[in-house]
Symmetry: C2
Subunit: 224 residues, 2 copies
DNA sequence: GTGACTTTGTGCGTACGTTCACAAGTGCTT
DNA sequence: AAGCACTTGTGAACGTACGCACAAAGTCAC
């Protein structure tokens, strides 16, 4: 009756990054009325290797039944809980341009676990508008606002220029998780997480690989 | 399954993913008139370890000068060339909803290397509209269109439902690089690359880490 | 209860990624 | 021309990730 060295504390980052994919695949299965799923089926739906899926899930606990598979609803709940989606996370979006609009209206937020509680912008002509049912506030009110309504996750949807300043204000408001859509690197103090979503980066990575596919000839480049 | 971790000329995938970041940092430096940069400075700007930066760059060649650093313009060109940005890649966006609108109007495409050549949507009430200077075409015209105007990169900005079907049509049209914004896994044949940009996934990863922070003292503000 | 069958959970070899630390190379100063 | 200050490029060590293959553990039929 001693310590399990692996689980509980340390879930590998690579695993965490895949949990949302499993979650989505499971939701889809649940919607179709599937009650039980094998690692092979779920792995195919998630686009990964089944051994990898099993190892990933084993980090959460032993939620499968040998010879049977995984109970879809139970696994859904366990992954949701592990990801912290059994509670609602208040989200604030800063920068209500084209992208900010799209984000504010995006149903993806509404999916379990996240709630957009405030919109901010620096442009006086945008402040005061109503977007997706929320009044756009001045970014200057950010820190004050956060005193009354805590913000768990800040979304930076501004151009690159003001992004660092906006990020600093989010941090000053107590935000420790930032999702950055601006095309720049954000500097944050220890304890603050930043994740970047970047169209240009993704395109450039695709371009790199595309460039190497030059021979559009199936008979070529089979070996080595 | 040719899921090779490194590319043919031996550039690790992890390195490729960081090249766009270096590129951006270098552009910023160039705009400010900086002519030469050390690995330490560039690494700080890019938010990475300097040894990692040097090793990454060493995969492209020996473009630095010991005792001096890297010539900003020269390195900019070399990375651009490696990423395939010295040519223009024709991009098609499918799904002109909120997100598609934002993408079509996003300057990030125009900057360098990418050109949006066509917009597609399935909704008859959207088809025919002009968005960002382009007429929205019916998605049914996709394959025919691609016969006249080649498409290198297809952007899927539809809801999850039609995403796989849209992707199949892109592949049928000869597209071998897909950027997927739809919240689902796309199945593609060998030789086709898919990269996923997913708001929900990123939020969920942030939520996971957020949940593990918080020694339960939300009132305490990080200050000074 | 027994045995055939199914599927999980994981030990292990391999490959990949990151960081340290330093030799090797470059420019500047004297 | 020699020494010094600086920075790159990389060998080596360590850590992480992946996927195979299989024992363990369960179900089901009878």
């Amino acid at each position: 009756m001693s310590e399990e060295p692996t689980t509980r504390r340390g879930i590998p980052e690579a695993t965490v990054a895949r949990l949302p994919v499993y979650l989505r695949a499971l939701s889809s299965l649940a919607d179709r009325g599937v009650r039980t799923v094998s690692s092979e089926e779920l792995a195919t739906a998630a686009g990964v290797n089944s051994a990898k899926l099993r190892k990933d899930l084993s980090h959460l606990g032993s939620y499968g039944v040998r010879g049977v598979g995984y109970d879809v609803d139970y696994l859904l709940y366990q992954i949701s809980r592990e990801l912290g989606l059994t509670q609602d996370w208040p989200v604030a979006i800063v920068g209500i341009g084209n992208l900010g609009h799209a984000l504010a209206g995006y149903g993806g937020f509404a999916t379990r676990g996240f709630r957009v509680v405030a919109l901010f912008d620096a442009d006086p002509s945008v402040v005061g508008q109503t977007v997706a049912g929320l009044r756009v506030r001045s970014v200057d009110e950010l820190v004050d606002f956060a005193r009354e309504v805590p913000i768990a996750i800040g979304v930076v949807a501004t151009p690159a220029g003001p992004a660092q300043s906006v990020c600093d204000q989010l941090v000053a408001a107590g935000v420790r998780s930032v999702l950055n859509f601006a095309p720049c690197v954000l500097q944050v103090p220890d304890g603050v997480d930043v994740r970047k979503v970047d169209l240009s980066t993704e395109l450039q990575i695709l371009a790199f690989h595309e460039q190497r596919k030059a021979p559009a000839d199936p008979s070529e480049a089979v070996n080595e």
